[in-house]
Symmetry: C2
């Protein structure tokens, strides 16, 4: 008789087990710093038995965590999120079962804010479009390139003034923009004008930067009415989630020239981007990469490690998410 195949956790009797939870198409590259401290088990590549007693689950990117996931791993008491938004995690289901959830905290905040500002300047000043113009060899042939618009002096409405929105505001102030915002509620310590809803914010803005969380209240928060209120000279930047905007309407507005332009890092049906946008010079398209820099990944590694270590030492979590 051959000896029984050892269960992976028996090879690391002293290390707490952490399950890697991912869609098969997702690679994970941020676990090397965890390996000396935790016993990492990827159920996609390891025998199921190893998952029985695991108490923590490391969720790679936007891999869904729902009732089914929690049924599969009944001993799990912590879900460690690794993305800026957690709309893929059923927070209510986690709350019902007493499962804590942690977020990426501020690991991505600055990168997303930088990218939002980059998209806004790019649309206004036609940076990507100018690059296309030069690369196609049109400069010596056509000479004049259409004028862009100045960023300074623009009224920018920020939809969702959380960590990311606040960093966007800080940057735009340095460019001489005037900032206003809409959020779940007015923030007493914030100097910018508050509008009670997206429509009123849009009606008083030259550009909207969408960076709120996606949930049942914010799905399609930028709808036809909001776009109409923003107007023909308005610009929309989205670094939140695709479904915050009614994409079909957005495409219609852009194609009809009912908006000045858009800078989009996220889409409703990623990685599919509406083909009509490919023809437009006044949109800047980005493959959901507002968060992706090595510097952000290092910050994320730190916050993931800190949450796992706190959990297994019974200390307060570093970046817990409120579960309703």
């Amino acid at each position: 008789m051959s000896p029984p195949i050892p269960k992976p956790e028996e090879e690391h009797p002293s290390l707490p087990t952490v399950l890697i939870h991912r869609l098969p198409s997702f690679r994970y590259t941020l676990t090397s710093h965890l390996e000396p401290h935790f016993h990492l088990v990827d159920p996609l590549t390891t025998a199921a038995a190893a998952t029985d007693s695991a108490r923590a689950l490391l969720c790679v990117g936007p891999t869904p965590v729902n009732e089914g996931t929690l049924n599969l791993y009944p001993s799990v008491r912590l879900v460690v999120g690794t993305s800026a938004g957690l709309d893929h995690v059923d927070l209510a289901a986690c709350a019902r079962r007493g499962v804590a959830v942690t977020s990426a905290a501020n690991a991505f905040t600055e990168d997303v804010a930088d990218f939002a500002v980059a998209l806004l300047i790019d649309v206004l000043r036609r940076v990507s479009a100018g690059d296309r113009f030069v690369r196609r060899g049109l400069w010596p042939v056509q000479g004049d390139y259409p004028l862009g618009f100045k960023l300074g002096g623009k009224r920018v409405g920020i939809l969702g003034l959380g960590n990311i929105g606040s960093e966007v505001a800080k940057r735009l102030v340095a460019f001489g923009c005037s900032v206003a915002y809409n959020s779940r509620s007015k923030k007493p310590s914030v100097p910018f004008p508050y509008y009670e809803n997206a429509h009123d914010l849009a009606a008083n803005s030259d550009a909207l930067v969408v960076c709120c969380a996606l949930n049942d209240q914010t799905r399609h928060v930028v709808n036809k009415d909001v776009m109409t209120a923003l107007g023909k000279e308005g610009v929309i930047v989205n670094v939140g989630r695709g479904a915050l905007i009614d994409e079909e309407e957005l495409v219609r507005f852009l194609v009809a020239g009912e908006l000045r332009g858009a800078g989009l890092d996220v889409f409703e049906n990623e990685p599919n981007v509406p083909k009509q946008l490919f023809e437009l010079d006044n949109v800047v398209l980005s493959p959901h990469k507002a968060v992706l820099t090595p510097e952000s990944f290092r910050a994320l590694q730190d916050v993931v490690f800190a949450n796992l270590e706190a959990f297994f030492s019974n200390k307060p979590l570093v970046s817990p998410v409120e579960c309703h």
Copy 2:
């Protein structure tokens, strides 16, 4: 006998004459606000006689003003520049003849600074390259897009801390960059570290933003040694003049991967851009349009009008340039 053709200035006996000085390929679009106040004469379209007594010359864009120009219009005592840089005006020749020169002052400052920051984020975060990736339909096919780099925390060296450089610095501070500079001399009121030459600045920077004036001292100020000092992870942004950089060396460094990337609004031989750059994903190319917004043009119209009005009323000029 037919009556003599009236000289244009006789049609406007009460208005001071201003000559429009331009290359035939340049159009001028900012004179409508001047027409009620000045008698505008374009020698390219009007009888030469009209130019005899003109005392002011409005120089369109980078049209050269040299000894020949001043010989042609000996009565001119004011050259009104309309561009951010005045390297096309022979300031020494103007000084010798007692001809005053005015600049566009700060009309373009903020737009150029915005554009410099836009180019820097674009190179680091690959905005234009990401837009190409999406438009080519590669996102659903290739999935992962290469990581960019974070702007915050980068050491940015500003070459030329005049009006534009100072506005660039203000913006970069809001992004969490640390700023240093080189200028003709150390500026006592500036909080940023000063380096005595471009080489030392580059050796202590992750990115160089080139925004100094072009003159005999600054031609090719960014040469091979400076690029070597900046290093393989270094980024160069140029919103000044093409000839501030040794373009041939720059292309060689970029093609060989000896620099991380470059964002270029200006080139040595515009509108010709070195073709090798078209193949590179880590450069952002722009058709010398860092200054071009309607908002800038309105500011320029104001400063042009203010200088002409001051000149013809014997008041101090609004934006005189020092002529050596």
